[in-house]
Symmetry: C2
Subunit: 205 residues, 2 copies
């Protein structure tokens, strides 16, 4: 149980850090700048998170928490088979659109060798394993085409990360409401998943 807290300073730091990490990147983010924007001294940040890397990890952890909660929600629904996958994709795209910062963070942290990549990997591995096992069992009973589950999952993942790039590029070109491209991406992803996984799906080519 928490004791007293001045006024959610920790949360505010996390918010601001997410903003900065996801738009400017980890290296370009200075603790002093974050602190100043919050009317707080840098040491306050270091008090709560000990190091800059610790701050990033906390940000990643919170973001991943959001994501995992949403995934959990779908996974606990009574949707079966293909509808389940579709619901997942839908949910992720919705989340991505609602919280673009999460996407930016994901892109920042997805680069291998980046500071946050280890943490991301640690957080994602259980999800990945779970999905892999499920897919393998589906394959065994013939409800899913036999392919490398990792490959499919990672490709889907990078599609979502790519979405961050796309939205940003379009925005930089002055195209604000980029809903149609996003919708197209989702359809593409669904198609990709169907082609890769659905044994009953007739390939039109």
């Amino acid at each position: 149980m928490e004791k007293y807290e001045k006024f959610g300073t920790k949360e505010k730091i996390l918010d601001s850090a997410l903003e900065s990490f996801s738009t400017s990147g980890f290296d370009a983010t200075s603790l002093d700048v974050i602190a100043k924007s919050l009317g707080v001294r840098k040491q306050t940040i270091l008090y709560h998170f000990t190091t800059k890397k610790g701050l990033l990890n906390a940000v990643v952890e919170r973001a991943a928490g959001n994501l995992i909660d949403s995934i959990e929600e779908v996974l606990n629904s009574d949707l079966k088979g293909w509808e389940r996958i579709e619901a997942l994709a839908r949910m992720i795209f919705r989340l991505a659109l609602r919280e673009p910062l999460l996407l930016g963070l994901l892109r920042e942290v997805s680069r291998p060798g980046s500071v946050g990549s280890e943490r991301l990997k640690i957080l994602m591995t259980p999800l990945m394993d779970r999905a892999t096992l499920w897919m393998q069992s589906e394959m065994r009973v013939g409800r899913m085409r036999r392919t490398d589950p990792r490959l499919v999952i990672l490709s889907a993942y990078s599609t979502v990360v790519g979405l961050a790039t796309e939205i940003e590029v379009l925005r930089a070109a002055g195209i604000e409401q980029a809903l149609r491209p996003v919708a197209i991406r989702r359809r593409e992803l669904m198609r990709f998943l169907r082609v890769s996984l659905d044994p009953d799906y007739l390939q039109s080519r």
Copy 2:
């Protein structure tokens, strides 16, 4: 005409900088480190490029030069209509596979607000304008569906940039020869372009 040159130091600096910028990013790249790796003093780099940003711009310029040359090559071929687009896509994917560093650089520099983004924009704009004009003329005579050319071009662009992410993610997961995913991406891009542009293409949905 150049005078004397010790031994292509400038080129070696560009090579090393490309490597570092595209894998570690601009901020994480230190001039001292590049210099040391070349057995040269930092000031040598600054002698050739005056500032770090100048170095990045030079790297971007050279990379864009490669790209533009390749594009030029296709544009000067006698391929017509749809085959032309297909050849372009094929060429870009081939280039991307052959020179992954270019992809990495592109991703680094594509982030709006990044140091190199202005330069990239300057270099890309003529290409973009040329493509836009061509597409508009094709639309006028009915050889192409009417859509926003910018949207199509930028989406295609971000697909290629996304490819960088995908290859890196897969590699980080230990999947080395990621040829199939790349091929799939290319097919997807082609499909996307067909759906967006080809008036005779029957949408299977």
